[in-house]
Symmetry: C2
Subunit: 350 residues, 2 copies
DNA sequence: CTGAAAGCGCTTACAG
DNA sequence: CTGAAAGCGCTTACAG
């Protein structure tokens, strides 16, 4: 069934020229003159025979495989990994690169597994992306320096590798700014205690925003598990602990969308309407929650697609030896997390 | 920085043998005798130099790249694509294959884009997987027959290519069976009208189950959009349209988990408790909904990981020329959709 | 038991 | 303006 592949020699024979000429014409090799007549004969023959250069052979010869490797940490458990892959893949296509993927199992130590990097190097990838979401700082294995590398979601402990992270802190602060401008003053934060970059950044951003507005950054902060159940408990504690209505927070800003789901339920049980009685804000813009709640959840989006695309674009620049600004640092580059306004925010009742 | 790679010649020189011998030893070539002493000298030299064979060069020589290509339709919008990729990748690792990924844009016509297949063929992939979720039948481009190919989530119109799909129909029927055994009789189905394989299969399964139990398969079926809002409306219509409690369905089985989310809200607004007053069942086991609702949603899981793994395993068998049962057909192979029981089902109140 | 040599399908100095 | 030839790093008949 795999009928013999047509090679450059077949094209050369059909066009009555040498393989050298075919290569020059098809690749538009610079500093090479070929008569227009020969060129069109070659192109016509290539098209007629359905010739497609063997990228393996070309890669061996040029020492550039045209492949980049994406190592994702626990792709299965990170709901947004798909968008990182999508961004990386589409950017790769634009650079005529192919994306290879290896899933790395989640580890407690932040070190990248050398054997997984080696699998890519055996394939002669032109560059490697390591994408993590659970560590803020990782140690890269020696081999990773053999080719251009970039990091998504973490910082290289040795500071040598370009990296990019969402600016969770600024994203959280911008939420407070928006709420304050709407007239809110008693803005609660349902935090969580797991020690990952996201928890620290979002809490800091909340505090930044509160302080900038001259509000007490710790009056309305509670901690709970980062799931719907935790959001429920936190919201119950925040809204129901015998407070008079005029002391009650007018907004519950949740560490993530799952907690916001629990906040909705708590509000409903307390007979409070979202957003008329209490506004709710999430973080992650996690499908399908954000759009499936009623009212639809206002939240902060993570730039997953953009990080994937940035990683490949940066790699491409490094591979081509271009000195793009993103290659220069300082690292990590921080990407904005835009607020996605839906129906769960209103001006405070009083 | 990319210090010169060590090649097979370096190993040969270090071990004092020919490259032929190095190749034989490292690959355990059959029908080849090499003295144990030479073998260990070669292995030691390879280890000491950190030699890793160039897979590009080997692929060119053996005409087998060791890569399989996964073409996914609109990975970004299918929440479970990640698990297909994970299953495919882990199975690929087991076969010493590398997974390359290209995202295909969603089209209305069910034809695969030839240029995307060609991108893989240019890379000399040993096999191609096309994964779709929106079409039940696709037309494969001519080129796809150049290498072993398999289909996920759709059937090849020409019936030549092995394919696999979730058995949505049997999954839905098994839910009815479970509910009937618990004592339910008035089992409603919140259907949807979009014409994709999943909608038809699930509705058919519901009917199969109802008929098998001697129940009326159309008394409690309503249609709505396949989102939370549709589930809310459907459930409202089902539970509230002036029915007496003894006519009211005791279960709302929803086309998908998003609709089930809306069903919970409707029940809450009607003052009905899940599952004491009404049981709710979803379909998809879509993270993070199923586990974030309270009570946690009983639903039907889609075997995404398994389909990804099956695809690569089948491809590997075809590539190696083995006649595994899965290569024989008939197609499509149907994979079971297991029920995931959580807290949203109870025995009916009366 | 071991090795010299051809060749996979390209690109690229280099020569004419 | 065009082509002969070397070589990328391997594997594999084939010979000894």
């Amino acid at each position: 069934m795999p009928r013999k592949q047509v090679g450059i020699r077949d094209v050369a024979a059909a066009a009555g020229v040498s393989v050298t000429t075919v290569s020059h014409v098809l690749n538009d090799t610079p500093h090479t003159r070929t008569s227009d007549e020969t060129k069109s004969r070659v192109r016509e023959a290539a098209a007629r025979l359905g010739y497609h250069p063997n990228r393996l052979a070309r890669g061996l010869r040029t020492q550039a495989s045209g492949m980049v490797g994406l190592l994702t940490e626990e792709i299965a458990t990170t709901p947004h990994a798909g968008r990182i892959i999508l961004g990386a893949q589409e950017e790769a296509s634009r650079h005529n690169l192919t994306l290879a993927i290896i899933n790395s199992t989640l580890r407690h130590d932040p070190d990248v597994e050398p054997s997984e990097v080696q699998a890519f190097l055996d394939r002669q990838v032109d560059g490697i992306i390591y994408a993590t979401v659970y560590h803020d700082e990782v140690v890269l294995p020696e081999q990773m320096h053999a080719v251009p590398s970039v990091l998504i979601g973490a910082r290289d402990r040795d500071g040598e590798v370009p990296s990019i992270m969402p600016d969770e802190r600024a994203g959280a602060a911008s939420v407070i700014d928006l709420l304050v401008r709407l007239g809110h003053r008693r803005i609660a934060f349902a935090a969580t205690s797991v020690d990952v970059p996201a928890t620290r950044g979002r809490l800091r951003g909340y505090r930044d925003g509160m302080i900038a507005a001259g509000l007490d950054p710790s009056a309305h902060v509670v901690e709970a598990v980062s799931e719907a159940a935790g959001g429920y408990e936190a919201t119950m504690a925040l809204l129901d602990e015998g407070r008079r209505a005029e002391d009650r927070p007018t907004v519950v800003f949740c560490y993530n969308d799952r907690m916001a789901m629990g906040a909705y339920r708590a509000a409903a049980e307390l007979g409070l309407s979202v957003p008329a009685d209490v506004s709710v804000v999430g973080f992650d813009d996690q499908a399908p929650i954000a759009g499936s709640l009623f009212p639809a959840l206002s939240t902060v989006a993570l730039p997953h697609y953009e990080m994937g695309a940035w990683a490949v674009a940066t790699l491409a620049a490094m591979i081509e030896g271009r000195d793009e600004p993103e290659v220069a640092g300082p690292f990590p580059t921080l990407l904005p997390c835009p607020i996605v306004e839906r129906g769960s925010i209103a001006v405070p009742a009083r």
